[in-house]
């Protein structure tokens, strides 16, 4: 389990709800949420406008349809590294000035990279929208990198990797599980990159990635907040319109997985492990790649089986049998080619991993054999619909919801037709996908195992 995620919750929240929230736009019912408009500039830039007039602020985001999984072999981490380097200046903006300019205009900015997307955003008072658009458009076309800035920033991402992965045994295990789940597809390579490859990334690697992928026809502009569609169109044409279209990119095509023939198992022993923990991943399709209806059923299956304190897993292992102190799970569905089902459990002291694993398998087998009830299904479905409505309260959350979906190949129509499909899921569908996808051959199970060590102690004052 990630022990640092509490603080990151507000970020991950957006990410995590992106797809199912986009998905649950209630079509057959009175419209929930904003009136979203979409248009395209002549140079190919997609534009989405999400009105939210409650506060005089806007969220401005540019999404590129490129992520870590699009990297060339040998330069893992370059998508994320370039994302950092995008703050290093252009002809007009001096190195390191980008964020400072935003800040002294009362704004906040950041950027992030996932396997499939890279996105940049600013949150500013509405009258600053033209300024941030000009700046973002400028760095879409005119990035200027100095060798010394590249080298310094490389040290920064190496520290970032140490913070996120090397210093955390559970992250080390998660990274190993991911690498093992994918035998051929690039999702097995961590977004931040492998240390030995990150350590030799250079300016040219970054520029190659930039020149290939950063162009209006590979980007989506999302503006949410106190602004009209017409205003955004005028500004977008002024600032992004003049940028030349880039070369046509080939469809994003990553190498696919061979059939899964054997369960995999990883044990990571670490003196800093804290508590014995079990994690498991199953390779399954994503929203984007699943056969009709399967991803909706998987979503609800995992909600019923493993997510939260009302799940079958928690009720059985934690509350009734007291084998585990906590359990959890869910469906990671946002990838372009693959998703995964994930489970974790932390055994009570004295309970073995074998026993926990058998108990988990019993819970899953019961669903495969006997299905779920209408009541469980209704509760799970309601939960998602409520998440969607709560999500409408946040303009930056809305911007991410739409941006992420479009950047990973959804159309607005895909988004809006999802609720009907969600509502169509029956208990039989859930039982069917449980039988189809809860296949140990397509899984990897990880054990985080503490080993004895000398207790850390304060050595005193120097």
């Amino acid at each position: 389990m990630k022990l640092d995620w509490k603080g990151l919750g507000h970020y991950f929240f957006f990410g995590l709800v992106v797809l199912f929230m986009t998905s649950v736009a209630l079509k057959a019912e009175p419209k929930q949420g904003p009136d979203v408009t979409y248009f395209k500039l002549e140079n190919g830039l997609d534009v989405v406008v999400i009105p939210d007039r409650r506060a005089p602020v806007v969220t401005h985001m540019v999404w590129y349809r490129v992520g870590a999984a699009d990297e060339l072999p040998g330069v893992s981490g370059i998508a994320h590294f370039l994302e950092h380097l995008m703050f290093k200046g252009t002809e007009k903006i001096a190195p390191g000035e980008f964020s400072k300019i935003i800040a002294r205009h009362g704004g906040e900015d950041n950027a992030f990279t996932s396997q499939d997307v890279t996105a940049y955003f600013q949150r500013v008072a509405k009258d600053k929208l033209p300024m941030v658009m000009e700046m973002e458009a400028d760095r879409m076309a005119n990035l200027k990198l100095l060798e010394k800035d590249v080298l310094t920033e490389r040290d920064v991402i190496l520290e970032e990797r140490r913070s996120r992965i090397e210093n955390s045994p559970s992250s080390i295990l998660s990274e190993q599980l991911g690498a093992s789940l994918y035998k051929n597809h690039p999702y097995g390579i961590p977004v931040i990159g492998w240390m030995h490859e990150m350590a030799v990334l250079n300016r040219q690697n970054a520029l190659d990635h930039y020149n290939k992928y950063y162009a209006p026809n590979n980007a989506i502009l999302v503006v949410a907040g106190d602004v009209s569609s017409d205003e955004v169109r005028t500004l977008a044409e002024k600032y992004y319109g003049p940028i030349a279209k880039g070369p046509e990119l080939e469809p994003r095509k990553r190498q696919l997985e061979p059939p899964s023939v054997a369960p995999r198992r990883i044990t990571h022993k670490d003196e800093r492990a804290g508590k014995l923990t079990l994690q498991r991943l199953y390779l399954v399709p994503s929203y984007k790649s699943a056969p009709k209806g399967d991803s909706e059923a998987l979503e609800l299956l995992m909600k019923i089986a493993a997510e939260g304190t009302t799940s079958r897993l928690y009720k059985k292992l934690v509350i009734e049998d007291k084998l585990a102190s906590s359990t959890g799970g869910g469906y990671s569905a946002s990838g372009m080619e693959y998703g995964n089902l994930y489970l974790y459990a932390m055994p009570q002291s004295g309970v073995s991993i074998d026993k926990i694993e058998a108990a988990i398998d019993d819970v899953l087998a019961d669903i495969v054999a006997n299905g779920v009830s209408e009541l469980e299904l209704a509760r799970a479905r309601n939960s998602y619909i409520a998440d969607y409505i709560y999500g409408n309260d946040s303009q930056s959350g809305l911007a991410r919801r739409y941006g992420f979906a479009l950047a990973t190949g959804w159309s607005i129509q895909d988004i809006e037709s999802y609720p009907t499909r969600l509502k169509a899921v029956t208990p039989e569908d859930i039982q069917q996908v449980a039988g189809k996808y809860l296949d140990l051959k397509a899984s990897v199970t990880g054990v985080l195992q503490p080993i004895l060590k000398q207790t850390a102690e304060v050595k005193g004052t120097q």
């Binding site: 992106v18 005089p56 190496l158 955390s168 991943l281």
Partner: protein
């Protein structure tokens, strides 16, 4: 806490997002919601065209809440706070208040734990509780269409918690498990050790979650005791944002909170007088490739006249992300860390300026020297006129960003009340920031900051670097 213990792993639905920058919250476990609220409340800016009407609602029974009506989103957000937090725990009962924060949705009235959790889900309400050192707070949201049932459930949680042995034992074990992880997490170890070494035996020096020994000794009666002392109307503050009228809210306030006792049972805690000086460094060996550095010294309390200048000063020193000197020197110029930050941490009986970073073991000494010298430089020279103006521009200009969701507005309104600042605070705050002069801030810098008094805690293996 619930989320921490029970939520998903793998970075939520497998979407691992890697950011260019971390904000300070991420690496500072002590920066709880209370503190964050306090800090943010300073960012409120005014003179904006944005007309947000805050109503003071007083219920028939005399319970007060601040309300912003908002009908565009079909939900209601309520946040409330009681005075008294982990600092109220008796000696040997450390962690009792934190444990209480995990027990309020573990069964109430006729509903046992599972039934209660299922009810939350069925009604699609959201409910969470947090214990900081000085306060106990609650965060509640309901869809407007379920508001009657939603608030009834909140009332049940607040007035009839069951504290079943079974649930108590489960939550205790979850906290014990989290302590075991934290004991191996260099950031958690550093924070805990820093507070211990700064505050020694004062209640602020104790871990809010308690220790394995204290947790194992806590029983139902301890929960009831803490609950009885803290859950009263005496220092109750409430903020509400959403699709609800003042009249309707008045009735709900009485229904949900009316049954609580009038008088708070919390005790006054002693003023904390940590001693800083002598350039202390606590070294804790841990076999990690990257050392965590925690640093800080005394600052000024929220009510101090110097607080706002100090707040601006901290923005320039280490609070302003890429606009701050620490980030410039440590990350931008030298690539020594992914993140470095500082922040003011005003408590009821003390106040700190705290900061943190993480760097490879071989860079620890260089990083510490830089932090010290930046504190000294700021103390000696103060900010430049340009830095000062930029800081004011950010702090005033970013006002509206704090008010763009119902929960954020509720959070602001709550902490303005907790700090006793008055409804007009929102309108006055920008002027208060703009009225600070460069001379004033230089004077505060000289008095407040002292590189020689910084206390450092290092967790890692710097000697292996």
């Amino acid at each position: 806490m619930k989320h921490f213990l029970r939520c998903k792993s793998y970075g939520e639905r497998g979407l691992n997002l890697f950011f260019s920058k971390l904000f300070q919250m991420v690496f500072s476990p002590v920066l709880n919601r209370l503190v964050f609220g306090v800090i943010l409340s300073l960012l409120l800016v005014t003179k904006s065209a944005h007309a947000m009407k805050v109503e003071k609602v007083t219920s028939p029974l005399g319970i007060e809440a601040w309300l912003v009506q908002e009908s565009n989103v079909p939900l209601i957000a309520m946040q409330f706070s009681f005075k008294g937090g982990a600092a109220q725990d008796s000696t040997g009962k450390e962690g009792a208040t934190y444990l209480l924060s995990g027990m309020l949705d573990e069964g109430a009235g006729d509903l046992t734990s599972t039934a209660f959790q299922e009810k939350i889900e069925e009604l699609t309400v959201r409910m969470s509780f947090e214990a900081s050192r000085d306060h106990f707070s609650g965060n509640f949201q309901t869809l407007s269409e379920r508001k009657e049932e939603g608030f009834s459930l909140l009332k049940l949680a607040l007035t009839k918690p069951r504290f079943d042995e079974d649930a108590l034992d489960r939550v205790r074990k979850q906290i014990l498990a989290s302590l075991q992880f934290e004991a191996n997490n260099p950031q958690n170890v550093a924070t805990r050790a820093w507070f211990k070494s700064a505050y020694k035996d004062h209640v602020y020096g104790r871990p809010t979650k308690g220790t394995p020994e204290s947790l194992n000794g806590l029983g139902r009666e301890d929960l009831s005791d803490v609950y009885g002392k803290i859950f009263t109307r005496e220092h109750l503050k409430i903020a509400v944002v959403g699709d609800i009228s003042a009249k309707e809210l008045g009735i709900i306030l009485d229904d949900v909170f009316g049954g609580l006792p009038d008088k708070s049972g919390i005790k006054d805690i002693a003023e904390a007088a940590p001693v800083f000086g002598g350039a202390e460094v606590d070294m804790i060996e841990m076999g990690v490739p990257q050392s965590v550095i925690q640093f800080g010294h005394q600052a000024v309390k929220r009510a101090d006249d110097d607080f706002i200048p100090a707040y601006i000063l901290n923005y320039i020193l280490g609070g302003g992300g890429f606009a701050s000197r620490l980030m410039e020197e440590v990350r931008e110029k030298r690539g020594l860390a992914y993140s470095i930050y500082s922040y003011l941490y005003p408590l009821e009986k003390s106040s700190l300026i705290l900061g943190g970073m993480a760097t490879k073991n071989s860079s620890v000494n260089e990083a510490m020297a830089l932090i010290r010298s930046e504190f000294k430089r700021m103390s000696n020279e103060g900010p430049t006129a340009e830095e000062f103006q930029n800081a004011k521009n950010y702090l005033t200009g970013s006002y509206a960003l704090r008010f763009d969701t119902s929960s954020k507005i509720a959070s602001q309104l709550l902490w303005i009340q907790v700090e006793g600042l008055g409804v007009d605070y929102i309108e006055k705050r920008n002027d208060m920031i703009n009225d600070v002069s460069l001379d004033q801030i230089k004077d505060v810098a000289k008095r407040l900051l002292d590189g020689d008094k910084l206390r450092f805690t290092i967790v890692g293996s710097p000697s292996q670097g």
